[in-house]
Symmetry: C2
Subunit: 238 residues, 2 copies
DNA sequence: ATAGTAATTGTCATTTTTACATTTATTTTT
DNA sequence: AAAAATAAATGTAAAAATGACAATTACTAT
């Protein structure tokens, strides 16, 4: 089976940075690590790549194990390969980031892993280089969401413009003018206005919208500039 | 040494997509593969990751081996991990893309590998999934160069605006208005005008410019929009 | 019926973009 | 030595977009 002579083989893992939005705050899902080393320390959900799978498949498997979810937004982020990143044995890790609708997530499944959602300003110390992975995922999310319709993946099928705006405001830690924001979103043509309203947050109520799936897929890669004064809100990118 | 029980270890390689600009056309550097399988077929330059190195270090090593160059622009692109991508033995490959000043490149070194520069519309059949890697690198280059001052890495220290424009025009396969182009570039504040001109292409001569290195590093991550009608020139992104 | 609230729509000055036109600096030709 | 040729550099203005702020609207609760 080993046909390239004299080459070292390495452990390959995947780790997932899983984002969710509870209607108020952007959060990531962390687990308490179940095996040594660093047992019971906070960690990203991950696992070793099996002989039968690609890293994409491994990441999807791991994500399903923890959340019960299939077919969610999952994107390869970066491969971490520092020689000593795992103290037990050399392992390279391909990091993925996922965006899920937090309400779809099945709690009972994740209890097995002692998983918890954390706000981004309250993330505990993480094992290995996982803090670096989280930082990079957050940067990438900010960068990409400013230019592409990404954050919709975090919302339920029906949502209001004020809810969308509060998500953007939390991601960019700033406030946007509501008039300009709604015009910009509407002008993308990505949303279909519904007949009904959400009246939990105001007396007037805010219309629900749904994604126009076709338009969304077709225009996902277009550069849209959702964010005014973009450069004030991005520090760096990957 | 093997401390995580019952896990499979895999070969890990790096492959480099090396871009250069000869003053006329954007090109990539390919080699004739020296070992079986697929000996003498066209291939990206690559190599196995050694126990002593990270993938970044491996990519830099491989790049230096082929070009003789140190400290060039090198960025991790994507990790390719399809189960059967290498027919001999399972190998995952971390692809990197490099931007070099083609005139710095030392030809005698690469003759050992039978390396040749190819225009992007004349790339031969490549081994394994290397064509896919090239396609992704090209997309990424287009995407990123539209928003960040990336293409300067392909030019010599002193260059003219018309040369820069011809590079942009080749990358995006289109023509730009020269007045608007030069204004946009100048307005970034990234360039320092020199006293001398290049008179090889016109009677009037075009002033040389140099990168303002400090400004360049500081503003590299700013979103600048170098390209008008951006969405007409990007198909997709990674 | 009225007041209160947040959603929605409106307005307009400012800035950016883009198409196209003119001027300028230099070399080559007459 | 003047004129023609060439491509670089600069100028112009209409159109589009952005962004700050104001007014109106639709509904609920008093």
């Amino acid at each position: 089976m080993l046909k390239y002579q004299n080459q070292t083989r390495l452990l390959v893992a995947v780790d997932c940075i899983i984002f969710g939005f509870d209607g108020n705050k952007l959060k990531i899902l962390l687990i308490k690590r179940g095996l040594e080393p660093k047992k019971d320390h906070w960690s990203l959900m991950g696992g070793f790549v099996q002989p039968s799978e690609s890293t994409d498949e491994a990441a999807n498997r791991v994500l399903k194990q923890l959340t019960g979810l299939d077919g969610v937004y999952l994107e390869q982020l970066y491969t971490f390969s520092a020689k000593d990143r795992d103290p037990i044995e050399r392992t390279i890790s391909v990091a993925y980031f996922a965006l899920i609708d937090i309400h779809q997530y099945e709690k009972q499944i994740s209890e097995e892993y002692h998983a918890e959602w954390f706000q981004l300003d309250q993330i505990p110390e993480l094992i290995f280089d996982h803090s670096q992975m989280v930082a990079m995922a957050r940067e990438k999310l900010r960068y990409k969401a400013a230019l592409h319709p990404l954050l919709f993946e975090l919302l339920p099928a029906k949502f209001t413009l004020p809810l969308l705006q509060s998500l953007f405001e939390d991601v960019y830690e700033t406030n946007f003018d509501k008039g300009n924001f709604s015009r910009k979103i509407i002008s993308t043509g990505l949303l279909i206005k519904q007949k009904d309203k959400d009246k939990t947050n105001s007396k007037k109520g805010a219309f629900y919208y749904k994604l126009d799936k076709k338009h969304y897929k077709k225009n996902f890669h277009s550069v849209l500039k959702f964010i005014p004064n973009l450069n004030n809100h991005l520090e760096a990118e990957t």
